[in-house]
Amino acid sequence: MSNLSYFDLFFKPLDASCDVSQFHSTEQELDDFLKEDALNNQLNRLSVTFLAYWNDNLVGYFTLINDSIVAEAVTESDREPSWAYRKYPAIKIARMARHRDFDNKGIGTLMLLRIFVITLHVSQFTGCRIITVDSKTGAVEWYRKKGFTLAQMRPRDDTVPLYMDFHRFVSQEDLHTL
């Protein structure tokens, strides 16, 4: 089957009425988060998880939090005058997963599109210049294709951080869509 379109999917914030027990991605850790932690995080506003449905099937989810990037260890002597800010506010894609039975439908791309729409909306109310993501190793190239840049040459964890100067690109593109 060919790729779905954005409007084929229905996005819903996670709540206690949602049955996520049958969700299975290709990463156990991502399944565990959704089933064990996401709702509690949601109730405590530690993170917000959105579920993606297609034809009443739970086909994916993503979780967002506020984040920041701090560029440390750049001494004053090697600091360029144009490096005005050392810290930037961000929105982080903390988790994103697609159901393993719904491969090759573009669901990941549509979830990322939804994240961009949400970020555009939120950015009118609070500063969130950058989008960051903690990617599983196997998804790094996927995020790079979508325009993200590797944050660390030697990641210290089993996830790989990437970033995108979302606001800059929106400013450039917005001029064309006026």
Binding site: E29, E36, D37, V70, R95, F116, V117, D134, R144
Partner: protein, 50 residues
Amino acid sequence: MAKPIEIGLVLEGDDARRFHKYMENPKITKEGRELIREAIKIAKKEKLYV
């Protein structure tokens, strides 16, 4: 309990320098640019972004 979500990305040394350079002149792929363009159109259509 799954691995907790980490908040705050701290970049050091070459990673910090690379980040500053990126912020001066960020690069994006064609696919990323098209996705942002589409997001702007959808957000405006849904009156989520003006």
